[in-house]
């Protein structure tokens, strides 16, 4: 199963490489996590991260974790880098203190908030730590129709676009 997801990740990577970069993502984003992971992640985030990164991920003493400044071509973060960083070094007052599942759920939540669709397969440590797909913010309005109509989303837009001036 995870092999499939790695393929999805790799496929997205190829597309990204082929399509011109215009600050925002142009390629269809891969579906790397499940809706339930993102929901679990939302509450874990609220509990363990929001005090510093904001209840709406808008930033506080820690940087914003959603939006065009966090996930930009200029930042040039990959999903792997962000996952590996946050699962080792966050939360700041007790780095590495969460469970693996919590870190994966939170990563799923960050993906959702930055415009990545949920899918049918769960994000695993193996996928997250190998997925070199760039993390690029995809505001709902600009998301490709494919994303919005994806089955996993079941017609419900999960992405609440927000412009965060930190």
């Amino acid at each position: 199963m995870s092999v499939r997801l790695l393929q999805i990740c790799a496929y997205a990577l190829v597309l990204t490489a082929l399509l011109p970069r215009r600050g925002e993502a142009a390629s269809p984003p891969p579906a790397l996590y499940t809706r339930s992971q993102a929901l679990q992640g939302a509450s874990a985030f609220e509990w363990k991260c929001a005090s510093c990164h904001g209840h709406h991920l808008q930033g506080g003493v820690g940087p914003a974790l959603e939006g065009p400044i966090f996930a930009s071509a200029k930042s040039d973060f990959t999903i792997q880098q962000v996952y590996e960083f946050l699962s080792v070094e966050m939360p700041a007052y007790a780095p590495g203190s969460l469970t693996r599942t919590q870190y994966l759920d939170i990563t799923a939540f960050l993906l959702r908030q930055n415009g990545y669709p949920a899918g049918v397969r769960a994000l695993t440590d193996r996928i997250a730590s190998h997925c070199t797909v760039p993390l690029l913010y995809r505001p709902a309005a600009k998301a490709s129709p494919k994303v919005v109509k994806s089955k996993a989303l079941a017609g419900k837009p999960l992405i609440v676009p927000r412009v965060n001036a930190p």
Binding site: V61, I69, S75, F77, Q81, A92, P95
Partner: protein, 570 residues
């Protein structure tokens, strides 16, 4: 123009109005209201009526020769004026005062000019941080205040600008970016003005930056010199780094304002922790991280150095203020640097021989085990590695963090804000990526097993190296100290009380009513028309609630929000 009417006596208004008509441009008409800050005034800032720079004067001793407010009458301190600023992040700034102008900076680089007597707002400025992610700012989005020169006021910003503004109008005169934002570098320090230059240093030891001190022309912003704290291959000190590119991410941040010794024409500036945190990744002493550096202020050439923590693996930045003073130790007179380091040791260094005079621990200190021939050595048993968790003291937050200590020439004491913390620390995988931290360690701040309190304000007799008094507190001591000729030490608490202690005994002589938030900033004092004032910013935040581990719980319910308070006798 109306802005200034606020604080001018009414009968002079018509004269101002008249001269504004006669003199063009209008701003010139008010020049008399703003005392020009000359080199001479900066060199004699210690005796100025204002508070002209970060730690009052070039010695960095935060000592004022004012005695109107003193041990006998301090209990009569009353609010003179106050101003609610708001904002939920930490307020670490020193109010800077020149004549009747008082300047305060806030988190996220706002700057407010007040009338120092009435509290009237004269102007406000806000640095635009649009498009800035504040990604590489570790310890709250703070600013520690401004510097003054000529008719300008200078601020260093989180996106690495130095901004020069007209002190009377708040209009930007020039601004210059010394590094791009969000790729490892940021600035939170108060600049230092010296001989027509404005000097700043960068933060970034957590992000794989290669940090530096830079001097700009105060009039134009033109860069005069830039000195990196981590040498490139071939430069002196480069043999203390592994070969290859690692020096480019070697840290050595220069994130606190330095001091200046006119007698030897030397600029002193601390170097911060090396990067990445995990020392195993960079064998060698890693000069000039965690070091006192002595520069020629005209060229930026390094004259000498003293490394406080060799080959640091515990984030013991050496940036705490190198205070300039003289003292008598074992019958000998010394021109000294006094420095309370993050590693928990108080260093007293000879400014002439560049050698250690003595060092004493002021907090539980294990990582730095002792001294041989005046040079420190570390305990290898408490060096973390991947798969090896260690326990050591103090924590990476230090026996003392950045909060300015104060040296009182009357008591010959140094007053040291202290925290009692230890930590667990372990090696972890890391990779360098601009915009992300570069640590290679995980960690947790825990209680000092030898002390059930989180904090203390301590006094050490500089002539003996012995502790003179100790004011212990359940909560961490997170604020700067200031001493005065009135025999007082002022500092603040996380609960939001400004305190005045007897400089000789440590007895609390006055405690302000609970302010609207906790205090992490240093107090300042100034005189206008013969009246002495004490000013302090309240506004909880900073590093402790972010990185404080087990300490976070103890400070979790402190209300936030910035507020400036000014006190005087009735």
């Amino acid at each position: 123009m109306t802005r200034f009417q606020a604080f001018l006596p009414r009968r002079s208004l018509w004269r101002i109005a008249l001269s504004a008509v006669l003199l063009a441009p209008a701003a010139g008409a008010f020049a008399a209201g703003y005392p020009v800050v000359t080199n001479a005034r900066l060199l004699h800032a210690a005796s100025d009526n204002g508070w002209l720079m970060f730690l009052r004067d070039y010695t960095g001793d935060s000592y004022a020769p004012f005695r109107q407010i003193n041990t006998r009458n301090v209990s009569g301190l009353k609010p003179a004026w106050d101003y609610k600023i708001g904002m939920k992040q930490g307020f670490e700034g020193s109010p800077i005062v020149n004549g009747r102008y008082l300047f305060v900076t806030t988190p996220k680089d706002h700057l407010i000019a007040f009338d120092a007597v009435t509290g009237k707002v004269l102007w406000k400025y806000q640095k635009s941080l649009a498009g800035v992610g504040l990604k590489t700012v570790c310890c709250d989005v703070v600013n520690r205040g401004v510097a003054l020169y000529g008719n300008n006021v200078y601020m260093a910003t989180l996106d690495n600008y130095v901004v020069a503004l007209n002190a009377q109008t708040g209009k930007v005169v020039w601004q210059k970016q010394i590094k791009p934002a969000d790729v490892g570098y940021a600035m939170t320090l108060a600049p230092l003005t010296l001989e027509g230059m404005v000097i700043v240093g960068t933060s970034g030891g957590e992000y794989g930056a290669r940090d530096f001190v830079v001097a700009l022309d105060a009039r134009t912003g033109r860069e005069i010199w830039r000195q990196y704290t981590v040498p490139s291959p071939g430069q002196p000190g480069s043999d203390t780094w592994p070969k290859g590119e690692i020096y480019q991410h070697g840290g050595g941040s220069a994130w606190l304002t330095g001091t200046y010794d006119p007698s030897s024409d030397t600029l002193f500036w601390g170097g911060g922790n090396p990067g990445p945190w995990l020392a195993k990744l960079r064998p060698g002493k890693n000069l000039f991280t965690d070091s006192l550096q002595a520069f020629n202020p005209r060229t930026g050439q390094r004259k000498w150095y003293y490394q406080y923590t060799p080959h640091d693996s515990w984030d013991y930045d050496g940036v705490n203020t190198p205070m300039i003073t003289s003292l008598t130790y074992h019958g000998r007179r010394y021109q000294a640097i006094v420095h309370a380091d993050r590693n928990g040791w108080l260093y007293v260094i000879d400014r002439r021989t560049h050698k250690l005079i003595y060092a004493v621990p002021f907090a539980h200190a294990i990582s730095l085990a002792g001294f041989r021939d005046g040079l420190p050595y570390t305990d290898d048993a408490v060096r973390p590695a991947v798969g090896k968790q260690i326990f050591t003291c103090p924590s990476f937050l230090g026996g003392k963090n950045w909060w300015p200590a104060s040296v009182d020439p009357a008591t010959h004491m140094v007053y040291v804000p202290t925290i009692h913390t230890c930590m667990t620390m372990k090696g972890a995988p890391t990779f360098y990526k601009p915009g992300l931290p570069y640590l290679g360690e995980t960690f947790k701040v825990v209680h000092d097993p030898n002390d059930s309190n989180w904090g203390a304000l301590q006094a050490f007799d500089l002539d003996t190296g012995k502790r003179a008094w100790n004011h212990e507190t359940r909560l961490p001591w997170d604020a700067g100290a200031m001493s005065t000729a009135g025999g007082l030490v002022f500092s603040g608490t996380p609960q939001g009380h400004l305190l005045a202690l007897d400089a000789r005994t440590g007895q609390v002589l006055w405690r302000s009513p609970k302010l609207s938030s906790g205090i992490i900033a240093p107090p300042v004092t100034y005189r206008v028309d013969g009246r002495q004032y004490v000013a302090i910013l309240a506004g909880w935040g900073g590093a402790t609630p972010i990185w404080g581990g087990d300490m976070v719980k103890s400070v979790a319910n402190i209300p936030v929000g910035g507020h400036l308070y000014v006190y005087s006798l009735n």
